[in-house]
């Protein structure tokens, strides 16, 4: 065991070294789009020359993303615990949760800059980026507990609170940690995106904006690498903690009792309808309250009613609707395609990670770079490689979608208890047969959860590509509207992109429920 682990490590180090050498050669020879990808040594040289610039920017980014990460996660874990204790609250807040999850940062950043000032837009965007991931990880962890341990506590006279404390929270820690791990890069990216647009003096996003005009890929990659390093370090911290802890909390044998989906039908029809009503209206109430609290005038801050008026009651409503529908017609098909492509890629990677662990370990640093490299830095370079057609949009969409789905799928595959794996192994099944017959079906709830996770990110990816490369669809409409001071449209695009994500999310959820109920599995929140 010790030997194979050492060889595994050696392999991943070897892969990394190969990767760096290939990168250096490709970069030095200017093979990719005439130097759009510089060699690592060129990037490091540039970093060294620019070393005086970085501390101020790094500090600003770390401050905003760290504060956002903290606020977002404290709220997320508290909310997760509250939701598990009160399924009614979870159902009531579902609309809000999904809306937060579905907010495309590039549509929200301009709105935050309009309504808040100073560091607040950065911190808020970072906090919004982490909330859903950690909240859902907390709920997953707390709901998928071993009922036998809970029965034990109950047999000794323990109540729900004691079960929560002794069994569920303990069991949920690996999930919460993996949530924090995914959330960390989100916080950094959120802060950088807000810095890029928000006009502050310091922050890596601001530095990036100033550097774009230099036409110096080494500088852009350097900023990207520094962002990656910050995100990667925070990711690594939680990865290490989670690998230390996860060993002691995994169940050794399989629990054959299926946890009951309690709470869903505990109420009468009228109360259920009331809750549903609350679920739908709550996000709009919060939206309205946010505007009223910030005290920003009606002209620039549109309430739900303001957006409705803009789209349906004004003289210009027909024109606005026309623009919106045309943009949607361009954005939606490619977003659907990108989502499928991103999921397929994540699925392949997750399977490979079980079958070729060494390869995946070597690939992980690259994967992480794609997650934390600010896309605004890379898109002009990607355009040189891929042009301005569908391929650039698809690549960007895959790159923003695959990672969270991949992490979730790997988790699903890893959580298959040892005893289930022993059976095919005892019959001498190959790794592939074991994967096909046991691990993949067992990970099905996670595949559905990954699909839901991917929906809004696909929309985000497409909108970024539209904004910076293709000049079509919602992403372009949003940015043109800023030039027209068309505040109604800015809010409309944000609202519509959220509503759409929520709608598709529910579509997936319905399919998921039906399938999982038939298979006797529990869905992953």
């Amino acid at each position: 065991m010790g030997n194979s682990l050492t060889s595994l490590r050696l392999k991943s180090v070897r892969n990394l070294v190969i990767l760096i050498i290939v990168w250096e050669i490709v970069g030095r020879m200017d093979w990719i789009a005439g130097g759009a990808l510089p060699g690592l040594s060129e990037i490091l040289t540039r970093l060294w020359i620019d070393r005086g610039d970085y501390p101020g920017h790094i500090w600003a980014t770390v401050y905003a993303s760290g504060l956002g990460f903290l606020i977002g996660n404290v709220l997320a874990i508290a909310a997760g615990i509250a939701f598990v204790l009160s399924p009614t609250l979870l159902r009531l807040m579902r609309g809000v949760n999904i809306a937060i999850f579905a907010l495309p940062p590039i549509a929200i950043a301009p709105i935050l800059v309009l309504t808040l000032s100073g560091m607040a837009p950065r911190v808020t965007l970072a906090a919004l980026g982490v909330y859903f991931v950690t909240m859902s990880a907390t709920v997953i962890g707390l709901s998928q507990y071993d009922t036998r341990s809970a029965d034990l506590v109950r047999a000794y006279g323990g109540g729900n609170w004691l079960i929560l404390k002794l069994v569920r929270i303990r069991g949920a820690i690996p999930d919460i940690l993996s949530g924090l791990r995914i959330a960390a890069p989100n916080a950094v990216l959120g802060a950088i995106l807000a810095e890029f647009g928000g006009g502050g003096r310091w922050g890596l996003g601001t530095y990036l904006l100033g550097s774009l005009g230099r036409g110096d890929p080494a500088r852009l990659w350097g900023i990207g690498l520094v962002a990656t390093l910050i995100a990667g370090l925070s990711y690594a911290i939680f990865a290490v903690i989670s690998s230390r802890i996860s060993g002691s909390t995994r169940s050794v044998t399989l629990n054959t009792a299926i946890p009951s989906s309690h709470g869903e039908n505990a109420y009468g029809r009228s109360i259920q309808a009331l809750i549903l009503c609350g679920t739908i209206t709550l996000p709009f109430v919060l939206w309205w309250a946010f505007i009223k609290l910030t005290g920003v005038p009606d002209l620039i801050a549109k309430t739900p009613h303001g957006v409705f008026e803009y789209l349906f009651l004004n003289d210009t409503s027909a024109i606005a609707r026309g623009k919106l529908l045309a943009a949607l017609g361009q954005t939606l098909p490619i977003a659907a395609l990108g989502m499928i492509a991103g999921l397929a890629f994540a699925f392949l990677l997750a399977i490979s990670s079980r079958m070729f662990p060494g390869f995946i370990k070597g690939f992980m640093p690259v994967a992480l770079v794609t997650q934390t490299m600010p896309l605004v830095a890379l898109t002009p370079l990607l355009v040189l490689i891929l042009g301005r057609g569908y391929s650039v949009t698809l690549w960007i969409t895959i790159s923003v979608t695959f990672f969270p789905a991949f992490v979730l799928l790997v988790q699903g595959i890893q959580r298959v208890p040892q005893s289930v794996l022993d059976l095919p192994r005892a019959y001498g099944a190959s790794a592939w047969t074991e994967m096909r017959m046991v691990s993949i079906p067992a990970a099905l709830p996670y595949l559905f959860a990954a699909t839901r996770l991917t929906v809004p990110r696909a929309l985000l990816g497409v909108m970024i590509a539209e904004w910076l490369a293709t000049g079509t669809g919602l992403g372009n409409l949003l940015n043109r509207s800023r030039g027209y001071l068309d505040y109604g449209m800015i809010w409309t695009v944000a609202a519509v992109s959220v509503l759409l994500s929520v709608a598709i999310y529910y579509l997936v959820l319905i399919v998921e429920r039906r399938t999982l109920v038939r298979l006797g599995m529990q869905n992953v929140e």
Binding site: G56, L114, L116, G471, N479, G483
Partner: protein, 323 residues
């Protein structure tokens, strides 16, 4: 959300107490005054940096807070929201906001007599006038869509004859020939293009019918009514800063390497180039910020071509007379 609000509040209090301390240290009481710039720190705003450094605003009894801009910052929004007293804007958007959304703005001066925006291309591609853009790919920042529409319309070119793609502030696609031209500040990008080993060519949209100002100085009607003295003071101090800066454009940018221009990601040589190139676009016979009747008329005419209906009442030249 609640927490960030509290933080904001705290920051506000902190800023206020700093300001209070600053006031206590001076003989005259200064009035807090905030300006919203249009972009990140670069030579475009050199005059204000100089006036700040030399205390010209303090001389006018103003305690100036300078807010830099960025792609998501709509300067007009900042003054509507009351976070700044004055903003530097693109007249196209300001006038559209007044005429179409009933925004209560007044234009009280202009930094650029001629808009520095132009079509930048590589010399070898031979693009010397709007007509040469037919059949070419032009990168345009999505916020400047109105501007390119105006240029093509005023030169009788159909929008569909030019392939317009988004411009993302990076000249690399231009240098590599992925695009043929871009709409950008002619005072800025040609420098980068030359450092990348190519020769740039550019023309101002101003010279082809889009006769507009840029960085127009905009205030709300309310500010105009309540802070007239401060606004005149700001104009006077800023004009002083600009005139001194433009007397020799090579002098000041290098002095700001460790202050205003520290860590902006741009080079000092670029700022010197910018500062020299913008001199003729800012200078006016009747002093920086002037708006002659003829120039105002030209703005209204050019914008009318793209359906933006401006009028003389949107401009207020009386403060300039008080400088």
């Amino acid at each position: 959300m609640k927490y960030t609000m509290n933080r904001r509040h705290f920051m506000g209090t902190a800023a206020a107490s700093t300001a209070a301390l600053a006031i206590a240290g001076r003989a005259h009481a200064t009035t807090p005054f905030t300006m919203q710039a249009a972009w990140i720190n670069d030579a475009e705003f050199a005059g204000y940096f100089l006036a700040l450094d030399n205390g010209y605003y303090t001389d006018e009894e103003l305690d100036l807070t300078y807010l830099s801009g960025g792609p998501d910052v709509i300067p007009e929004s900042t003054i509507i929201a009351g976070r700044a007293d004055l903003a530097l804007t693109l007249p196209d958007t300001t006038i559209r906001a007044i005429s179409e959304q009933g925004a209560k703005f007044k234009i009280i001066g202009t930094q650029y007599q001629k808009n520095p925006l132009g079509i930048v291309s590589l010399k070898k591609s031979g693009i010397n006038s709007p007509a040469d853009l037919i059949g070419k790919t032009v990168a345009v920042p999505p916020v400047n869509t109105v501007t390119i529409e105006a240029l093509l319309k005023l030169n009788g070119i159909d929008l569909n004859e030019v392939n317009i793609v988004p411009y993302s502030y990076d000249p690399t696609p231009l240098v590599r020939g992925e695009i043929d031209a871009s709409l950008d500040f002619t005072t800025n990008v040609p420098f980068t293009i030359s450092t990348l080993g190519e020769e740039a060519n550019s023309f101002l949209i101003y010279d082809y019918g889009v006769t507009t100002f840029n960085d127009t100085i905009v205030v709300t009607e309310e500010t105009l009514a309540t802070k007239r003295a401060e606004l005149v003071g700001w104009l006077r101090a800023s004009r002083k800063g600009w005139e001194e800066n433009l007397a020799d454009p090579t002098v000041y940018p290098p002095q700001w390497a460790d202050t205003w221009f520290k860590g902006t990601g741009r080079s000092i040589e670029n700022e010197v180039f910018f500062n020299e190139a913008q001199k003729d676009l800012i200078t006016a016979d009747t002093g920086v910020f002037s708006m002659s009747e003829e120039a105002i008329e030209k703005n209204i005419e050019a914008l009318a071509a793209v359906g933006i209906s401006g009028s003389r009442e949107m401009f207020d030249t009386t403060l300039l007379e008080e400088i």
